[in-house]
Symmetry: C2
Subunit: 203 residues, 2 copies
Amino acid sequence: MIRLLLADDQALVRGAIASLLDLEDDLEVVAQVGRGDEVLAAARASKADVALLDVEMPGLDGIGAARQLKAELPSCRALIVTTFGRPGYVRLALEAGASGFVVKDTPSSQLADAVRRVAAGQRVVDPALAAESLAAGPSPLSTRETDVLIAVRQGNSSGEVASQLHLSEGTVRNHLSSAIGKTGARNASEAARIAAENGWLLA
Amino acid sequence: MIRLLLADDQALVRGAIASLLDLEDDLEVVAQVGRGDEVLAAARASKADVALLDVEMPGLDGIGAARQLKAELPSCRALIVTTFGRPGYVRLALEAGASGFVVKDTPSSQLADAVRRVAAGQRVVDPALAAESLAAGPSPLSTRETDVLIAVRQGNSSGEVASQLHLSEGTVRNHLSSAIGKTGARNASEAARIAAENGWLLA
DNA sequence: ACTTGCCCGTGACAAATGTCATGCCCACAT
DNA sequence: ATGTGGGCATGACATTTGTCACGGGCAAGT
């Protein structure tokens, strides 16, 4: 019997997936949480074998939760289940020690199989997504460019970013300009959006 | 026996909700589609009593699908089930003839009840969401401001918007400025984002 | 040691974006 | 008919944002 932990901030989706997986004879949902920072404790308490983690969660994102599990409770394997197949996310997830990555577009019938494969110690990654992730490569952004984009993404103007990072406005704009070029964006906010979508602003 | 149609572009979520609702003795999922523009035909073919519609779908959004149903197949009631409780969406959904509005945050146990109430001819709207929607009021944006924001949202610069709408650049920037004031945003792209989140750019 | 390449930082300049005062037109109330 | 208010449109002006050429530091390869 495979013991499952479900983590997703949308209660309805979480409950629905639970009922889907409970139909399987060899699977058992033993815990459900709605926040990333509750995953570790719940996994420990429930002795889960596999944790299904959504990426978008309050408190801590699914990738971070997977990292915690890998470090603190390696007996519990992490399977990331997310809405968007952002290329960079796959890379980050695997680096964080996740055992698998599934997008919510996949047929529901395949989820149980993915869980079984992960429980058996295999890696599970959507092949198309894996290829895309490989092609996209790691973040092309330098450290400063990443810093600046993160700050811009919070909604700060370049002046504010400058004082937050103790830089001159010109420097900030320079990094932004460079980031705009690298992302193919047309302005700073678009660059921040693109970088975020590729997972370049998480680590 | 209540006959259900499920429309959601995420196959996994769709399947999971199907298995959740199939557990109920008086509910039966008779059709599933992944695109908004397939809803009407599927509802007709399957003689569905209630359609569960996600808002974000390719082809046609859930609100549009609800409008089609209301016009062409009024015997099938629409229940919108969506990720975000954008205030304006509730208003739009009800104006489009939907019978209910549920966010994916609600406990999964309540979904079946919502379906039953809708099937019985009642309206179902999350109370907190309804209040927020009422408080937010209708769109404060004028026609031109809406046009301009929609164009900006596609990723056009103000110059491009100007030529698309046959206006001078100054005029476009003027409408934008006004929209920025009304939305409380700090620049054009933020204004577009806020307006979209409130459902002000759909109708 | 020297070159090469990259990241970082800066200021000057150019282009875009946002704000303002102003006028036109239309609907509505006086 | 006559104000009055709002949406629409415009150009001038101020501010913000993006681009460029330049120089310093640092690590890797020669």
